[in-house]
Structures are given as structure tokens and as C-alpha cells.
């Protein structure tokens, strides 16, 4: 069939995609926006403790959580493991430690990577601080990772 024979037919490109975007809301969005600005926010619970990263609802009482408070950019490792080879899709270029880190001023730990030379440099209770990415977009990987506090 020639193109001229189908001049009346409407045409459009077919692109296979998943074109949905979801807003992250006031709490998750507040945290991610904070990362873009270089601050870390947590959610204050009714008993005064702080969840970081913040959740929209209290995991025990189910109360909505709305008050975001800034927490520290250094904290304590509560557990860790050594990721000897970055796996596909991980936003880390070199071997690193996974760690749960409770930031100063927060009462719950968050997961992220810690950059050290090897597993011998890791220990539970060690102090680490945030290493920011230069270009930030409101994403958990705006935190490039954590480094031991003395080398920050």
C-alpha cells in the first residue's frame, strides 16, 4: 500500500511504556525534597520519638504522622554486611558495606551504603556521616553513601 492511499488514516507512534507518575505526598515527598536541599528529615511520633526515614503512619498506633523534624547528618551503625561486588543496578560503583544507621536525633535506623576499604573497617556502633551527591534530585541516592565520621 502506498502512503498516498492512506492519507486519511490517522497515525501515531507506538511506544511501549509505563507512563504513570505518582506523587509521593507530604511525608515521603517532604523527606525526598529535604534530601535535594541537603537536609535529612524524620517524622515525630506522639511519644516524641523520631522515625527516620519518616513514615506516613505510625507503625504501632497507626496514627497519621505529619510533623517532620530535621535530624543529624551523622549517626551510629546498628548492623552491617559487606557487599564485595556491587550488584547490577545498585547505585554504588565500588565494594561497600550495607548498614543500618540511626542518625543523631532519630530513634530508628535507615539502610544505606558505607564506604570503607573493607569489612575489617566496619563495626557495629561505629560513627558515620552523610556524603552528599553534588547533583541532587530528591531521591534516596542523593545520599551517595556514608563515610566514617573521622574521615568526613
Amino acid at each position: 500500500m502506498s502512503d498516498t492511499a492512506n492519507d486519511d488514516v490517522l497515525r501515531a507512534p507506538l511506544r511501549l511504556e509505563y507512563p504513570f507518575i505518582r506523587t509521593t505526598g507530604a511525608v515521603v515527598g517532604g523527606f525526598l525534597t529535604g534530601l535535594r536541599e541537603g537536609v535529612v528529615l524524620g517524622a515525630k511520633r506522639a511519644d516524641g520519638t523520631v522515625l527516620c526515614p519518616p513514615l506516613e503512619y505510625d507503625p504501632i498506633t497507626s496514627d497519621p504522622l505529619t510533623e517532620l523534624v530535621e535530624v543529624g547528618q551523622a549517626g551510629t551503625v546498628t548492623t552491617w554486611t559487606w557487599n564485595g561486588e556491587p550488584r547490577p543496578q545498585q547505585p554504588f560503583a565500588q565494594p561497600f558495606a550495607w548498614a543500618m544507621i540511626t542518625l543523631d536525633g532519630a530513634d530508628t535506623p535507615m539502610l544505606h551504603g558505607v564506604f570503607v576499604d573493607g569489612p575489617d573497617a566496619m563495626s557495629t556502633g561505629m560513627r558515620v556521616s552523610v556524603q552528599w551527591r553534588d547533583e541532587r534530585e530528591g531521591h534516596i541516592a542523593d545520599i551517595a553513601g556514608f563515610v566514617p565520621e573521622e574521615s568526613a
Binding site: 525526598l32 527516620c52 507503625p59 554486611t81 559487606w82 543496578q89 550495607w98 548498614a99 557495629t124 534516596i140
Partner: protein, 350 residues
């Protein structure tokens, strides 16, 4: 509560099933289990399955498997995007209403097409965790270190769990990790994700399990010694890792209490414990003592088929009761990171 029992089951687990689709390898199991007790799909009042479109890589993939049950004339059917053990729970609830006497339950997956430990990162929190792609071994290793450093379990005790599971798996024709290994040899293994060693992690398999439930006298007609479900309950912990104690399983503890685990002796337990650390958490949460044989099949350390491993635990426990190996058993199913969700089932013979 209406008396409902497991009266028959059939399973298949292999390191990788390469030349058959999920439907192709499930059909012989579905027909085989019905034939084994002399019933047809027309006798089945409700059919319920558990599988994962995400692992199959295809929307509504379970519909093609339903076609394999021989659903003509049309059948009453349901599906859960969960381990088949939760399909069993749905069928058990339906049977409590008294309208049907027989249910067909199955669960399956073929995860060898991808890297399951990486795929499982997508079940984590989509904003805070999944974008970092922590694999399933890393997530469990974080809990394992916390557990070991709490002093409640040692690496040697975990090696004992791994060694005993291998011993048990050696006599299970469906297990895939069957090479026996001493505690000393496991202690000498290099960590795969510190502190977890290769013997601490699940033996990932392709496969599935089909099981038949029957109520009251119908169960007695179909099976010489039905495995009666005396208690069943499921609970879940918080999704966020940082807000729960990874060294204890609160959901398993509550489900175990509701299911009545502690009301009498437990001869053996089939636990959905993908890691040696998970087994420690579950025996602790369920209060199982030394007089209970843990995972006589070798458990998920012997063969772990996503979406079916929980149902297989129930099938294994039921089969041993039917065989007369014991009178009272506990089976569990689990889902999510670090045993987030747990189902506990108490089975008894008469």
C-alpha cells in the same frame, strides 16, 4: 470450627526446570494428586492457587494454569499473589461456610529465569530501600549480624541448623541440596554475605505443590489417616526494616499463639525458614523445644521454591502425619523480607 484435613499432596522441585513452562509441569501434578485419591475436578468445590505474575513476567499468568485443572464446566476458583499456603488459608475459610467438601490448592513458580536474590529487592520500600537494590542475602545478613551480636545465637549453632537440614534433605527425593556437610566444614565456608555462608542461605528451586483439602467424613473416605487442621492463623510485621526488631518474629509468635501451637506436644515442625537465622527466629517465636524434630524434609535449606515453599511445608507435615510418623505437627509459611509475614498451621492425626 468445621473439621478440614489435608488428604493428599504432590510436589516437584528441581534446581531449574528448563524445558517445561509452569503450566506444563503443574498439569501432571494437578491431575496426579486427584487420581491418587480417585476424584476428578467435578468433585472439587473450590480451586485456589498462589503464584507470582512478577516472577512469571506475564500479567494474569495464573489463568493459563487454571486452564490446566480441566475447568469444564466452569469452576469456582480464586488466586492469591502469595505463597500457596495463603491459597490454602482462603480455601480453608471457604470450607468453614459448609457449602463445599473438597478444595484443590496449589502454588508454584519458576524463578530460575532471573536472579531471585536481586528480584526480591523490588519487594522493599519503593522510595527508601528498593532504589538502592539491596539483594535478599544482604537484607538477611543485616538481621543475622544483629542476632549473633545479641548473643542469642552463635555461628556454630547456625552451622548446626545447616548441617542437620542437609542430613534431613539427603532422604528427601524432592530436596536439591542433599550433600551432607559437617558443622566444622560449614564453619570453614567463606561468607557469601558476611556473616551468612553458602550453607545458611536457601537452595533456590523451580517447582510447585498441589494439595487437596477435604472436610469431615469426606476426608475420612479419601484418606486412611487425614491430617486435620486444628489451628491456622497468619500475621504480618511492619514492612519498614528500621521499625521492627529483626532479631525476633512477633508475627510468628502471635500466629503461633492463635493457632494453638503450645496447647500440646509438637512431634515435628516444617518451618518456612529460608535462612538458618530464620529457623532460629521461628523456633524461638513458636516456643519449640528439643523434643520437636525440626524440618524432617530438610526445609527450605534443602529446596526453596518461591510461592510454593510454604504450601510444601504444610504438605510435608501432613504427609508425615498420614504416614503415622507422628500425631501433631506445626507447619509455617512466610513472605516478605526477614520473615515479615508468617502463617502458622497446626496439624493432627487421629
Amino acid at each position: 470450627m468445621r473439621d478440614v484435613a489435608v488428604v493428599a499432596s504432590m510436589q516437584r522441585q528441581e534446581p531449574s526446570i528448563d524445558n517445561e513452562s509452569e503450566v506444563e509441569y503443574m498439569v501432571p501434578l494437578m491431575h496426579g494428586v486427584k487420581e491418587s485419591i480417585g476424584i476428578t475436578q467435578a468433585d472439587v468445590g473450590f480451586t485456589c492457587s498462589g503464584s507470582s505474575d512478577f516472577i512469571a513476567g506475564q500479567a494474569f499468568s495464573f489463568v493459563m494454569t487454571v486452564d490446566g485443572t480441566n475447568p469444564v464446566p466452569p469452576i469456582s476458583e480464586s488466586h492469591v499473589e502469595m505463597d500457596g499456603a495463603w491459597a490454602l488459608y482462603e480455601a480453608w475459610v471457604k470450607m468453614q461456610m459448609g457449602e463445599i467438601d473438597i478444595a484443590l490448592v496449589y502454588g508454584y513458580s519458576k524463578s530460575s529465569g532471573g536472579s531471585l536474590r536481586d528480584v526480591l529487592a523490588t519487594q522493599m520500600d519503593p522510595y527508601y530501600v528498593a532504589p538502592l537494590w539491596p539483594d535478599a542475602f544482604a537484607i538477611e545478613a543485616l538481621a543475622a549480624r544483629q542476632l549473633i551480636e545479641s548473643g542469642r545465637v552463635s555461628l556454630e549453632q547456625l552451622a548446626e541448623i545447616a548441617s542437620r537440614s542437609r542430613d534431613h534433605a539427603a532422604s528427601n527425593p524432592h530436596a536439591i541440596r542433599t550433600a551432607q556437610k559437617s558443622v566444622a566444614d560449614i564453619m570453614a565456608e567463606a561468607p557469601i554475605m558476611d556473616p551468612l555462608r553458602p550453607s545458611d542461605i536457601p537452595a533456590s528451586a523451580d517447582g510447585g505443590c498441589v494439595l487437596i483439602l477435604a472436610a469431615g467424613d469426606r476426608a475420612k473416605d479419601l484418606c486412611d489417616r487425614p491430617a486435620w487442621i486444628r489451628g491456622i492463623d497468619h500475621r504480618t510485621d511492619a514492612h519498614t526494616l528500621g521499625v521492627r526488631d529483626l532479631t525476633r518474629s512477633m508475627s510468628a509468635k502471635i500466629a503461633g499463639q492463635k493457632a494453638g501451637v503450645g496447647n500440646d506436644k509438637v512431634d515435628f515442625a516444617e518451618l518456612y525458614a529460608p535462612f538458618t537465622t530464620s529457623e532460629f527466629l521461628l523456633t524461638d517465636a513458636l516456643g519449640l523445644g528439643e523434643d520437636t524434630v525440626i524440618n524432617p524434609s530438610g526445609g527450605t535449606l534443602g529446596a526453596h521454591t518461591m510461592m510454593a515453599s510454604g504450601l510444601i511445608r504444610i504438605a510435608e507435615a501432613a504427609q508425615r502425619i498420614t504416614n503415622g510418623d507422628g500425631d501433631r505437627a506445626v507447619a509455617t509459611a512466610g513472605s516478605g523480607p526477614n520473615l515479615q509475614q508468617n502463617l502458622v498451621c497446626v496439624l493432627e492425626g487421629e
